[in-house]
Subunit: 408 residues, 2 copies
Amino acid sequence: MQISRSPLARPFPEMPAIAGVTLRAARARYKEWDRCDLTFAELAEGTAVAGVFTRSACASSEVELGREAVKQGRARALIVNAGNSNAFTGYRGREAVEAIQAQVSAALGCGVDEVFVSSTGVIGVPLPKDKARAGIEAALSAEPCSWEDATNAIGTTDTFAKGAGASAMLGDTRVEFAGIIKGSGMIAPDMATMLGYIFTDADIAPAFLQEALERANSATFSCITVDGDTSTSDTVMAFATGKAGNARITGWDSPGADAFAAALADVCRNLAQLVVRDGEGAAKFITIRVSGAVSDDSARRVGLSIANSPLVKTAIAGEDANWGRVVMAVGKAGEPADRDRLSIGFGGVWAARQGQPLADYDEAPVAAHLKGQEITIEVDLGLGEGRATVWTCDLTHGYIAINADYRS
Amino acid sequence: MQISRSPLARPFPEMPAIAGVTLRAARARYKEWDRCDLTFAELAEGTAVAGVFTRSACASSEVELGREAVKQGRARALIVNAGNSNAFTGYRGREAVEAIQAQVSAALGCGVDEVFVSSTGVIGVPLPKDKARAGIEAALSAEPCSWEDATNAIGTTDTFAKGAGASAMLGDTRVEFAGIIKGSGMIAPDMATMLGYIFTDADIAPAFLQEALERANSATFSCITVDGDTSTSDTVMAFATGKAGNARITGWDSPGADAFAAALADVCRNLAQLVVRDGEGAAKFITIRVSGAVSDDSARRVGLSIANSPLVKTAIAGEDANWGRVVMAVGKAGEPADRDRLSIGFGGVWAARQGQPLADYDEAPVAAHLKGQEITIEVDLGLGEGRATVWTCDLTHGYIAINADYRS
């Protein structure tokens, strides 16, 4: 089945070069296709690394090894394989990852734990070692490529290339960020996988990079959902080459720490939203703002309960201001809520306040809002100061077509 | 939109009369329709009652009042309103329920807390007191009706009437069970609601009836899902009139307690499965058997994670033996699992064992199985003795059509 470009797609942005990062791509031919499917990012010596990984109990060997290796804080290379996720492949899958690490560490003269590998695509088929070896050989001698080329090379059934840039001033030093991501597409017989990478030339201590990435993740990647399904390979990594020459940031007290963290979070938010914009079958981008919860975490869980509700998502697809389904999703979230304090709105117009429909509720502006592509749902729980924003897309015939009509 | 009868529908069964239960139905006209929408079950003096209710934090007044009243253990009447769920209607909704209780308690000469009320349908509109009052007046003077009539009267967009009967021998005494249920249909702008009622002529102490119902519920109604969305009104109640004349069952040590509990669980399981068979857009009935979990509860949660996964449900709709999606759903369940001990099968044929695809996996019998209407998924976690069976349906274009294409 040919999946057409998402109606919510965004053009690939201008992205800065990041000193200390060299991108190359090659054809490993993990599938029968004529495209680059192996991406090789070479990183300058001294590059700090951080990562957040899927919490799946059935994670791939790439995730298991990456989660361990990230603790030592240094990276010299990232390799991304597209077309084969190497998940659920047992010891043979693990051997394939270790072979890549050994080959790259020999070529670059670095430790094996400074080589990070991600894979996405078909599951249950061990990554073929010979194709990986030849692909890496080809990449090592290839010309450097652009961000957009690299983004296309990590994609599978993504319908558009997703990237986000940013910059920040750390004292007098300008630092650059470039982030790329793939996700929410599908290659039967496997699962949607989100792989995201943010590169910066800032000089950041690894422990602080990890802390900043985890903080950014909790308000961005952890606040999106397409279908509530979590892949065995989800990975977001940050790499800081230190080439910008800023005074090294080692903690929140370092000058520029907040500016750095804010820019990193901006990139993460933009990338996360792009994944939702490429959600399978998505026709509308939905922003859910929850306030009045007992805590920010509680607000996020209420938001995700709404965002994952098939009844809410189909209501939005049907352009139906069905606040009753939002009530239902709040009620089932397992978080503190009081029916008689709950307020619900669409597009900035309250439909119900404090547990009751508004007597003078005017559905016309809400109906107009729901006809658009960018939808907001506002929920106030009336209990406390907790807030969160969550992003999702609607659930349409397109989702069913992509995931059910196509046989592997 | 005219929703056609589910392809998984079952004919309404023969059901026994239950001594001490008189059913009547009337036209309260909660909506603009010409059908009975108020059901009145009059129960003999001394009838024991038990109930399990939605855990939604936004439950309706009917649920709040029922949950309280069931604690005193006696019931004289059940009133079910169809077409208006009275949910999210604040104090006016509560007043409407209390008015019904007062009217019926006066007519029957019983306590208000012996009158149980359920409502299903549109939310956000207080149940109109005048319609309810006139409907109850009409019901009080109506001729008794059949189980099938009563079942049709509690339904909303159910595509078929759902009932289940059973009998059990308690010592030398035969006792009868009749259960009716509505659920998984939809009237915009509201939510699917499951309301189920089981009547028996057995003589059962209220505390034991509650215990037996909770036990049955945990293995039946708590093991089904259509879309993972929990309504604000979900209710299952059991009524035992005591007219059969058996030696009263007061605890698990009473003669016949196990036989009674088994028959009650049978009725609950049959009713629960019928709700899945009427799942919105359902074309296939899916049984998920989980074994090898660390506990039965853990097995149930893993089963529900699979059953609620849109990717698994669309794969079954597409007749695709996509065990990778099952791995994903196991991994995200938040329960103990070990990728390298996990086995997955369809229709009794293993596709993957202990973390790896079977080398000699023959997809032909699995493909044939998936073309049928009755699908089984087997998952063995390889960790312990915990087991559970969960039931769901596939996710099809029909679900989207019912919930998105139709504007309220």
